[in-house]
């Protein structure tokens, strides 16, 4: 079967599904939906349909990004767009079956939006929602829309046409196309993907490996759960460009749903001749294997990841040699994270120019973030590079401006930087984020309110990285534990006057001296909170008070004193 035939069949199947007389009920069952109880809803839905003897198709989809509204179900009737209903409970499911499926009343009061072509009165389209208006979805293009367990849905939405296009070009042209798009590694350091591929392609040796790093946070997991094929297609394209014959997906073995979806996807690819020998009838061979690894933070670091894959302690080692020349089994190895691979497939499906039209001069394309904390609209978002933090937090997140409740924004999770509300006009791209002392890597944006003690937050972040430090380099192992000790003293009212300077000195030392990104970024939360919230540290040290009234030892002592 040629790719054109596969594509035609897939489109025919997808269209037949859309036009089928049977109503379709989609349910979001990614991890965010499951934690909110989607599986119980699914069970109840199937039982209810059977009890009432209704003929409807129930399809599981991934996460659409509206995590604050989970569990979500989408109901579609022949030729009409899907209607999304939020925070469904068992009683709402029964109501929807009676009202929409039987009596054709689409219940605008319960609906959030409609998804797909066409409009329904009284319900806004997905793109009109305030949360979606400013988003550009490239890596998340199919998430929540297609069935992740059905390869035909992905192909019908343009999937694998990027691979088909890449196979008509020669490997150097593919690398050039990726270079032209300006795509940079989404794992944090922002190394140009095209350059990395070129180095690996030119490295001596015939045996090369390709690794998809899925151990670096929840955005990776959500993409794999919602649209695994976009990542797998990206890996195939990358393997063709650098000449690799084996690829691995390194994922925390506890993410069982993502692993199950990947395994299903790999089986379907085999049936369509999209992996193993002679991909789509060409001479290109590529095998992908899912490697369930440990869930430690350090394993997101590329050298530690290689060590862990080889069955050793996940400890970073000094570079050079970089993995692109000597990685897994001392062979040239390409490591990119899930989001990067999902972008690669989009670039080849459309074009480098199209991709480069988003973003800023130096940072092209989009970035996926997990927006959380004290914002009303929390979820998974994707914005073009260069959008200001202000727009992300207020326009997308829905925080109320001038309420005075927004204190700081923590970008990059536990190794990120804390920025005060006054610098939110800063655009989000690699240069600005790094200059601000934050970290793009894990793609977490956590908004904090006035009840948060910055010293306590810095202590929490550091206690996490301190526990995760692999212990190989002394400066990280000892530096983080010394800093944590000082911070603990400060929050317990035992701070000394020169502690703040000492923290700055230690933090700067770690930034310069640590071996890997974990150690280099570990002091970020401490350094940025001292930079922007120094008066809070001073209140803890000098007046033995916690302005946010969070540090319990300081509160009780002041009560005792009065």
């Amino acid at each position: 079967m040629t790719f054109e035939q596969i594509q035609q069949n897939a489109i025919a199947e997808f269209e037949a599904l859309e036009l089928d007389d049977k109503p379709r009920i989609y349910i979001g069952t990614a991890t965010c939906g499951r934690s909110a109880g989607a599986l119980k809803i699914h069970e109840h839905l199937c039982a209810e349909l059977e009890r009432r003897n209704l003929d409807a198709q129930v399809i599981e989809v991934g996460c659409i990004g509206l995590c604050y509204l989970e569990p979500l179900i989408y109901i579609a009737k022949s030729g009409r767009p899907r209607i999304c209903y939020s925070q469904v409970t068992i009683s709402i499911v029964s109501q929807l079956i009676t009202d929409y499926i039987i009596n054709d009343n689409h219940r605008p009061d319960l609906a959030v939006c409609s998804i797909g072509k066409g409009r329904i009165d009284g319900i806004p389209g997905l793109a009109d929602l305030p949360m979606f208006q400013r988003q550009v979805r490239i890596a998340l293009r199919n998430c929540g829309y297609i069935d992740p367990a059905n390869i035909n849905h992905y192909i019908a939405c343009g999937g694998y046409s990027g691979l088909a296009r890449a196979l008509t070009m020669n490997p150097d042209e593919v690398t050039a196309e990726v270079s032209k798009s300006g795509l940079r590694g989404r794992g944090g350091t922002g190394f140009h993907t095209g350059t990395k591929w070129k180095i690996c392609h030119d490295a001596p040796g015939t045996e090369k490996y390709l690794i998809c790093n899925a151990a670096d946070g929840n955005t990776s997991r959500t993409i794999l759960e919602s649209d695994p094929h976009s990542v797998l297609e990206g890996m195939l394209i990358g393997a063709y460009a650098v000449g690799a014959a084996h690829g691995y997906i390194y994922i925390n073995a506890e993410h069982t749903l993502a692993i199950a979806r990947l395994k299903t996807a790999l089986k379907q690819m085999e049936n369509y001749m999209l992996s193993n020998d002679k991909v789509l009838g060409s001479n290109f061979c590529f095998q992908i294997e899912v490697k369930g690894g440990a869930g430690d933070l350090i394993c997101g670091e590329e050298t530690a990841l290689i060590q862990s894959m080889e069955g050793k302690r996940g400890m970073a080692y000094p570079r050079p040699p970089f993995p692109t020349t000597s990685g897994l089994g001392s062979k040239p190895t390409i490591i990119n994270n899930v989001e990067t691979w999902a972008n690669v497939s989009a670039i080849l499906q459309k074009s480098a120019e199209w991709y480069a039209s988003y973003g800023t001069m130096q940072s092209k394309g989009t970035k996926v973030f997990t927006l959380g904390g004290k914002v009303p609209r929390a979820g998974l978002i994707e914005v073009p590079m260069g959008m200001s933090l202000h727009q992300i937090v207020y326009d997308i997140g829905g925080a109320v401006p001038d309420s005075g409740d927004l204190k700081a924004v923590l970008i990059g999770g536990t190794s990120g930087g804390c920025l005060p509300a006054s610098v939110l006009s800063m655009p989000v791209d690699y240069e600005h984020i790094n200059a601000a002392g934050a970290n793009m890597g894990s793609g977490n944006i956590t908004v904090t309110d006035s009840a948060t003690c910055m010293v306590n937050l810095a202590k929490h972040c550091l206690s996490f990285t301190q526990a995760e430090s692999c212990g190989k380099c002394v400066i990280c192992r000892e530096g983080t534990s010394q800093m944590l000790e000082i911070l603990t003293d400060i929050t317990e009212g035992k701070g000394k006057p020169d502690d703040i300077e000492l923290l700055l000195e230690l933090g700067d030392g770690l930034k310069v001296g640590a071996l890997c990104a974990l150690g280099k970024t570990a002091p970020n939360p401490v350094l940025t909170t001292i930079r922007h919230f120094r008066e809070e540290y001073e209140a803890h040290v000098k007046r033995k008070r916690c302005p946010a009234k969070r540090c319990s030892k300081l509160i009780s002592s002041s009560v005792m004193g009065t």
Binding site: G292, D296, G311, R313, G413, T452
Partner: protein, 194 residues
Amino acid sequence: MSQFYSYYKLEDAANTSFKLLEKSINAYYHQIGIKSLPIPLYHQKMVKNAMSLMEQFARHRSNLIPLLRRFQEAKKFLSPEAITDISNFLDLSENDVYSVASFYNQFRFARPGNHIIKVCFCNTCYLQGSESILESIESELNIRPGQTTCDLKFSMEKVTFADCSVLAPLMVIDQDVYTKMTPARIKEVLARYT
């Protein structure tokens, strides 16, 4: 010398499969002129159990972490015997296997309780007060993170799920997810488990 050789040969066979072990023992006994000796039953059982866990893995170091996980899934923790079995199978020293297993947070070396309580300490959960959840579990059950109650009913662990935005603070007991936890709910939730 030949004795050592056959010993290693025997061990080698034991790692490949139980049946092969039986066969090669018989062959060895035959060689040295003994008809055949029955293998003690407990030993048979032990080797069989360990083999059934290991048989689908290739004997390569890269399978060490998947093997450790497999053993932990079967027994809920890694016993000294499991470490020995794995080290024999992969031809590594026990020390080496233990050094890898103890590096990663997910491996336990003591029997956990029947129910495992996981309290999420991601940034969002922490900001929403997961510390107070932990404290109230600590006072309710009198255990600290990583410990097990005397009656082996509960174990508690501090974890980072990192996708809790609106559900924070999050607590998981076995497979049940408890969202938006408050210290006041702890007692009632724990009472559901027997």
